[in-house]
Subunit: 221 residues, 2 copies
């Protein structure tokens, strides 16, 4: 229940290379910034100045309880939008899981364009609702699934998002996975071994998962 000061280590904000870059489904004007591994993109309470889009890399969006427990709400991959808020400040924090290129669009530009462009405004709304659907699905996982079910769901989700021929390259650590699934690293690790023993997956290296039986994962989830 207690938690030491994890996650205070390598916050190296790197607002380096900046260039104009209209990119992504909703082509938005925005500056591309590179962030190094574990760099903070924005923090809870920061002014919500921009809306962000992943150009490359992986981002984690999370909140931290007063005692240090961390809950990762979502991972974002290339093409995903994140950091959208209603209020003036961010209600979550965001960090680069891997080295990232992030497109930041000033919020004003977003709302201005939304006013002028119906299609864009609709798309903006859809993206919020889509993220809501994702959050709901995740609530289901957190609220009523066992460790085996959670890890299976996670692997299927990753498989859907970023697998190449049945091989998943996980960009995130066991700690990240644990904080995403509401488990501990030990339990995540044990569950991976269990899935390996049962022939559902292979784990040649800790960040590489080979899917042997998606059927097994599906009925476990």
């Amino acid at each position: 229940m207690t938690a030491p000061a994890r996650f205070t280590a390598p916050y190296s904000r790197i607002p380096a290379a900046v260039a104009a870059a209209p990119h992504g489904i909703a082509a938005l004007p925005g500056a591309v910034t590179k962030y190094g591994r574990n760099a903070e993109i924005f923090g809870e309470g920061d002014e919500a100045e921009f809306v962000y889009r992943v150009r490359s890399g992986t981002v984690r969006v999370y909140r931290i309880l007063s005692d240090g427990r961390r809950m990762i709400g979502s991972f974002h991959f290339a093409g995903d939008t994140f950091g959208v808020e209603t209020g003036d400040e961010h209600s979550t924090s965001a960090e680069a899981v891997t080295d990232c290129e992030i497109i930041a669009t000033p919020r004003m530009a977003v709302s201005r364009r939304a006013e002028a462009d119906h299609a864009f405004s609709h798309e903006l709304w859809q993206s919020a609702v889509a993220e809501l659907a994702g959050a709901r699905k995740h609530m289901l996982v957190l609220g009523c699934q066992s460790a085996l079910e959670r890890v299976s769901s996670f692997l299927l989700e990753m498989a859907q998002r970023s697998s190449v021929g049945g091989v998943i390259s996980l960009p995130m650590s066991r700690q990240d996975i644990a904080d995403y699934l509401g488990l501990t690293i030990e339990t995540v690790s044990r569950t991976f071994t269990q899935l390996t023993e049962r022939g559902a997956i292979e784990v040649p290296s800790s960040r590489t998962i080979v899917l042997r039986s998606q059927a097994f994962l599906r009925q476990a989830a």
Copy 2:
């Protein structure tokens, strides 16, 4: 882990009194329908024909896993909008917790108006993002809090939404609370007793909670 056929009992859809009624913050044209206690408003997989707003009463929005486990994602009170979807069908089910009056607006009317009215479209988007914020907060609860913390959070949430002078009238059963918090009825009940013993609340009747020490709840949450 297993679950009998709970929640198959009294689904009495009551599409009774229908009348024009522009009401709520975003005055939308819509028909008012009354639903009796436990009546289904829409089910997962149903065509998402309408967007709904609570005029009076309480609604639960939930999903059910194949084995019968139920996760209540949110409760909605007077003035709240629910049932907004991106796709063509509802990804959740909704039921009346108490007798309810619900305003149903045809989806087409919503999107047509959103196209014409920027302010409305903005409001629509804000409501989606606000709900997302709620979902995120709830994920934090489900992902990393203990039973005591969950119940305390819940009570504070209810206090904020619908308390009158430090007295909360819970419209929902222990089972609803349990399914909302990812706990069992027994644990919810025990936690209430524990909070009573510690002087944080009083429970004169099972649906009535008197707040004795919000400070206690806050630091427990």
